[in-house]
Symmetry: C2
Subunit: 298 residues, 2 copies
Amino acid sequence: VSENVDDTLVRVSREADLTDRVVASFATCPDPRLREVMSSLVRHLHGFIRDVRLTQAEWDAAIAFLTRAGHITDERRQEFILLSDVLGASMMTVAVNAPTRSDATEATVFGPFFVEGAPLISNGADIGAGMAGRPCYVHGTVRSATGYPLAGARVDVWAADDEGFYDVQYEGGPLAGRARLYTDDAGCFDYWTVEPAAYPIPHDGPVGDLLSATGRSPMRPAHIHFMVCHPEYRTLITHIFVDGDEWLDKDAVFGVKDSLVVPFSVHEPGRGPRGRVLREPWSSVSLDIALASDSPHV
Amino acid sequence: VSENVDDTLVRVSREADLTDRVVASFATCPDPRLREVMSSLVRHLHGFIRDVRLTQAEWDAAIAFLTRAGHITDERRQEFILLSDVLGASMMTVAVNAPTRSDATEATVFGPFFVEGAPLISNGADIGAGMAGRPCYVHGTVRSATGYPLAGARVDVWAADDEGFYDVQYEGGPLAGRARLYTDDAGCFDYWTVEPAAYPIPHDGPVGDLLSATGRSPMRPAHIHFMVCHPEYRTLITHIFVDGDEWLDKDAVFGVKDSLVVPFSVHEPGRGPRGRVLREPWSSVSLDIALASDSPHV
């Protein structure tokens, strides 16, 4: 249906006026940052609704989608993080907080599978006991971006097993494949686990339905999560990805960066690091983590 | 921290590239409308994150907010509709679906308090039994925008009581103040209820916390909800507002339109419509509802 010029002007002005009134409702917000965030959110949200001429049925579908996402979310499942991830909102948040140029290790998505209360382990321990997959020895160093080794850095690690599942996805299962450890005096940490596999993000909920309806794959390339904290440096949330994985260029959550793809070496059965004797092939990976200084944009 | 021009260009290009990659992930979406909606959603969502330089802590807060909203939502409480309402997203959806010029009754927000299964009543029945508030007689007509009376139009009504609460807000209480009825051969409907009061939207959840943090009031002016359906006309979702209400110009959900504000007349005790004898003052209101034809933009 075509519209004459006068009607178009009336419509555009009426819609802009509504947006202005909603933004104005935040004018007396006592927190200037919250006012800025809410005003921008309203302008972009209204802009989206105007641009696509959202129908009432689509609005209903959006409310139902968010409701389902809320109801499937619990201590072991976080559908809103998945949603943010598959829309690239998580990676955009990472991007706007990253320094433009830096010698520090790059960040990527946090993901929905971190849980508080992972076991505190000593270096060299095995966190892969009982998990499906090839034994894998992980050795890393943590240093400043200027090259200074960092002792006592806290390292949280978590990863899926060879089936592509995290511990928390097994009903009633024990925590596994995740731990907290600290770097030694040389800035090193090491542990045994199992080599992670590529996996689909949980796709039996509304986010999975969205991916399916839009013809997108839920697969993520194999990776291990790291969160590294030191009081004098910026906390780093990142992954390492297994070099050669077929999903590296089509990660469902847009988390891959070239610098984070590292080779995993495969070894014959025999004696491995930390005196472990292996009756099956095993793999190892080394990584070098560099933390930026604590100032947000340096 | 200032940034040189080269760094700015790198940053802007890196962020734009991420948005383009996410939009491209929807390129093979089999449904063209869904592709359009998702692409626009991603561009606006990313634009918001870029414009405000969203911090990781703010992203965490957003995920926690949505999680709380999901967990408080059940069959009687719909926090996502409240959120859409207080951000003006509901009214923007109404606006983009409204004809620019029309003789039809204007629409407003649906709100979170409609429930399926309201009692089917005959014209003249009382749906205010047991509710707090002054008895109120509602008489309406339903016609086409061209003035033709519409028999057999389905009219759903729901409203708060004199305390500002809907039936579903009383734990375990019966349905009250809501009904479904049909217009008679002259296009008329009528029923007894109680006069609604201004009220705060439910503000003991995350949306209430948002209003509080931003210095906004949760109040809505007194109103009665109507949803009117007829097979040959556009479904109308609207309210009438009580003329003189002090909150008319500061509705928390931006739902007021001048054409929807109507006078409620107060009467002395005595005999009222439908033979009802009243021992206390009562009020009455008349409304004239005009439905647009079923074509979306006529």
